[in-house]
Amino acid sequence: MQHYVNRGGSSSEGSAVSLSAFAYVYSELVQYHQGRAASISELERRLESAGYGVGLKVLELVAYRTKETKRETRLMSILHFVSSSVWKALFGKSADSLERSIDHADEFMIVDYEPITSTFVSVPPDLGQLSADAYVSGIIAGVLDGAGFSARVTAHSVNVEEGEYAKPQGGNVVTGLPARKDKAVFLVKFSQEVLARDAALER
């Protein structure tokens, strides 16, 4: 099968389906991989791998539509591209924040307080640290890799501190669910070549 960006006829850009429809299909994707994974980390790898292919396509789509004539060559630019343009295209809003790690020069974090891949998911205790958002890490990795910035991307569920996020009264206004206690943090660790290249471009 191939995926084509521009078929004749109506464009799919901006069109929507219900969040439920996405959640059902995503749930089946996770369950399918769960049935074939021998461990939690294998399941996460499978989900990341599923997202990677999507990421490559999303990069093409978003880059084409924003009509950027020049490729991003700088690290901060590509991160901004991901946390705003790509996030807006996929989730209808920019990522909630983009941060760089204090301890590691090669690590950055993209934060989303309401990731749709885990909106309706509850992780049972025996699956421990599994993040259902691993699919999104795969998407990010695909976008970055496709743009020439190879990176290892992992998804983490992190507790939200008191007052950290101005939660809407009564919880999530979109789904009507109570406000989440954890946010998704996508840790992006760039490869050494990428960092070296970016440093060289600095001069």
Binding site: H3, S15, V17, S18, V25, E28, A50
Partner: protein
């Protein structure tokens, strides 16, 4: 039962209230699932069966969401579907609309009123997808793949929860060059209520 336009209006109202997700992400996610299935099962006929099974699992769950939301909007569905024709209208105008935002039509009712077709002009599952050309050397002929077979499972699973046992088949597919998508639904049996023999009182 409400007339056709009432079902369409109700469908529109339900769709408006649903939280939304990006349709392209939806299509790409489904594509990822189908790709994985093709990789694991290879034989397109087997993949079709898997898609139907997965759709069934979704159908069984989404019908609860549908009935609760449709009821809340004051439509009292459980008292309104008097026959298969009404059911068909509800599935097409309210079900498809609410979950996918698309306008589906019904038609081609059989003489005995036990079969009907659902027509989809747009298919959110197959955005960006093309099936490969016929492979002259044989191989796994992906043109035998029913890419949107998920719908068949969903309809089957959902209707079974309301005691209608149906068979569903994709008979026309825009991915194969047809001008629209057609799902043929055939009523096999109206199931009796009840939890089954195991639960009968002694």
């Amino acid at each position: 039962m409400s007339s056709k336009s009432q079902a369409a209006q109700a469908g529109q109202a339900l769709w408006a209230k649903m939280p939304k997700a990006n349709a392209e992400l939806f299509a790409l996610t489904y594509g990822s699932l189908v790709t994985e299935l093709v990789r694991d099962y290879e034989d397109p006929i087997e993949v079709n069966a898997q898609l139907d099974r997965i759709g069934y699992s979704i159908g069984v769950r989404c019908v609860d969401e549908f009935l609760s939301k449709a009821d809340v909007a004051g439509m009292g569905l459980t008292t309104q579907c008097q026959n298969l024709r009404d059911t068909a209208e509800v599935v097409a105008k309210m079900g498809f609309k609410m979950f996918l935002g698309i306008q589906a039509e019904v038609g081609a009712f059989s003489q005995d009123q036990r079969c009907f077709s659902i027509y989809l002009q747009d298919n959110p599952l197959s955005t960006f997808v093309e099936l490969p050309e016929d492979d002259p050397s044989g191989g796994e002929d992906l043109r035998r793949l029913k890419y949107s077979n998920l719908y068949c499972g969903v309809i089957r699973g959902a209707l079974e929860q309301v005691n209608l046992k149906v068979d569903c088949n994709i008979v026309r597919d825009t991915l194969k060059g047809d001008e629209l998508n057609e799902i043929r639904v055939e009523l096999k049996e109206v199931l009796a209520d009840g939890a089954g023999d195991d639960y009968k009182e002694e």
